[in-house]
């Protein structure tokens, strides 16, 4: 039974990693093709760093991901605090339903609906082009906020409300109590939200495809326009580097997690 399970799991992993293996393999191709291997070479890694367009797109992608994640985290955290403190059940469930819309809707509908809004407003004010970096940023913030709220709200619910009351009894103003007591206890949720928003934004193609202007190219958008023709192995080299970076980050976070688990276990004993 156990060996059947292992074989099955092995096959699924093979399926999940097959295209990634291919991609890593062909990033070392000496030739220009991504399907015919003509010898080992590191030249595409060199090409990548001298590829101005790709480096520019990478910079843009990081800029967009960092700004949209920060803005979404601030707005989303404040929103979560607001929702948590809402007295009216009707109001809070309405707000939560609206929050669910971008997560339920397919990306293409979210993208198209935001684009139509920008175009509509653009026509109203008579602008020549209605899509630019700002519209792209707004779109990213919009699809990130729900994930921030979903990460922070449970942390608020886990926080003992008596802590904040105790702080206020000891002379804190409600605002001080929030910053000194509530905020530190929901910090892990906020951090997780920030990270999630960052990765979502980094990887988004569909929504960006509809809401960005011609002057701002992100990596997924660049890759898309390349895949319409042929992709050179330098894109595979870039993906390999991204893959390795994420792998290292995950391993490090796993080790840290295990260490803190051990510490906690010791603390309990």
């Amino acid at each position: 039974m156990r060996s059947v399970r292992s074989i099955f799991m092995g096959l699924v992993y093979m399926f999940l990693y097959a295209p990634i293996m291919i991609l890593v393999f062909f990033s070392f191709n000496a030739g220009k093709s991504t399907s015919v291997f003509s010898g080992f070479s590191l030249k595409w890694y060199g090409e990548l760093f001298s590829n101005g367009e790709a480096m520019n797109a990478l910079g843009n992608t990081l800029l967009l991901a960092v700004t949209s994640a920060l803005i979404a985290t601030v707005i989303g955290t404040v929103a979560a605090v607001g929702i948590y403190n809402m007295r009216s059940k009707f109001l809070s469930s309405t707000v939560m339903s609206v929050t669910n819309i971008p997560m339920m809707n397919p990306d293409i509908v979210t993208g198209v609906s935001l684009m139509l809004l920008f175009v509509f407003v653009g026509r109203l004010v008579g602008a020549a082009t209605s899509l630019n970096f700002v519209t792209l940023l707004i779109a990213h913030v919009t699809f990130n906020i729900p994930y921030v709220i979903l990460n922070v709200l449970p942390k608020l619910r886990q926080t003992d409300s008596r802590l904040s009351e105790a702080a206020q009894d000891l002379g804190c103003t409600p605002v001080q109590a929030f910053f000194k007591v509530v905020l530190p206890s929901i910090a892990p949720g906020i951090f997780a939200a920030l990270l999630m928003a960052f990765t979502l934004s980094l990887d988004d193609f569909v929504i960006s495809y509809y809401t960005n202007g011609a002057d701002f190219q992100t990596l997924p958008l660049m890759i898309y326009s390349m895949t319409k023709k042929t992709v050179r192995p330098d894109m595979y080299a870039l993906s390999t580097l991204i893959f390795v970076t994420i792998l290292i980050l995950l391993i490090v976070s796993n080790i840290l997690q295990e260490k803190s688990d051990k510490k906690n276990r010791k603390g309990i004993n």
Binding site: R5, F8, M9, P19, N85, D107, L114, V231, M235
Partner: protein, 273 residues
């Protein structure tokens, strides 16, 4: 009290404003575009034009339903196998399942194209062995494979999360009461993991039915899904009105299927991730 409510209003205002303008209003704008023509006059033309795309809708629904069923058939036993491993290995392997999702979807799909295409990897191996080759790009199988590949982790993740939460003592109790492995599966594991299954099905079905990239690359231009038509109307023909009406119908279609799914899980169909 007034100070409190003023502060509360100040806290609520930014997000409510944001959500109102960028989540609610765009949906009405989609409806506005769907029911007007290019001059802005009220019109049913776009809604009536949808009849031409009935076949596309049919194909999209069939493909995404098949893809969802296959991911469930692979993902469910996989999640179950995961829970049988030691805790440390579970965490490690969940990481392995999620890792591909962090790679760009476009590039992974393109890589599949390299594997399946005429001069691709599979055909190179086949002809090397002296076997007949086949062009797999442009077949329904290739498109469905792309969907299954890209969204399989979305199925495994929620199912595994709900399964891992099942109290081991329940399973022991079932054994003590004389359940065999099959009965335990049917009476305990399956019913308790339904919320995860519902969430997994939604998370696979929604992106599958609305994809345009996978069908573009692996369908070789021969297979068109709703997403492809919307993409063409918006980005190629600049027919925003028709694009909006197609998006509107897609949205309604998904809402209906979600309502049906949620009935299955007795209202427990919350996102489990």
């Amino acid at each position: 009290m007034t100070k409190r409510s003023a502060r509360q209003a100040l806290i609520n205002a930014p997000y409510m404003l944001w959500a109102g303008i960028f989540i609610v209003v765009p949906l009405f704008i989609v409806m506005y575009y769907a029911f007007t023509d290019s001059t802005g006059a009220f019109s049913f033309a776009n809604i009536l034009a949808l009849a031409d795309y009935a076949e596309v809708f049919r194909v999209s629904i069939i493909f995404s339903v098949i893809a969802t069923i296959i991911t469930l058939l692979i993902g469910y036993p996989f999640a179950y196998c995961l829970t049988k491993l030691p805790v440390r290995a579970q965490r490690m392997q969940m990481m392995l399942v999620m890792l591909p999702m962090w790679m760009n979807l476009l590039i992974r799909t393109y890589s599949w194209m390299n594997i399946l295409e005429k001069n691709g990897l599979i055909n190179t191996v086949l002809s090397g062995l002296g076997l007949p080759t086949a062009n797999m790009i442009g077949t329904p199988g290739a498109v469905i494979l792309g969907m299954v590949y890209n969204y399989l982790p979305y199925m495994i993740l929620p199912i595994y999360t709900t399964m891992a939460k099942i109290d081991p003592s329940l399973s022991e109790a079932a054994e003590d009461l004389g359940c065999n492995a099959w009965q335990k599966m049917r009476r305990l594991i399956v019913p308790m993991s339904i919320p995860g299954v519902v969430s997994g099905i939604t998370m696979v079905f929604v992106p599958s039915i609305s994809t345009f990239y996978i069908s573009q690359k692996l369908g070789g231009g021969k297979i068109l899904l709703i997403g492809d038509i919307i993409e063409r109307q918006i980005q190629v023909s600049y027919n925003y009105n028709l694009g909006a009406s197609l998006s509107f119908v897609l949205m309604v279609l998904i809402l209906i299927s979600m309502a049906i799914m949620n009935r299955f899980s007795n209202g427990e169909g919350e996102m489990v991730v």
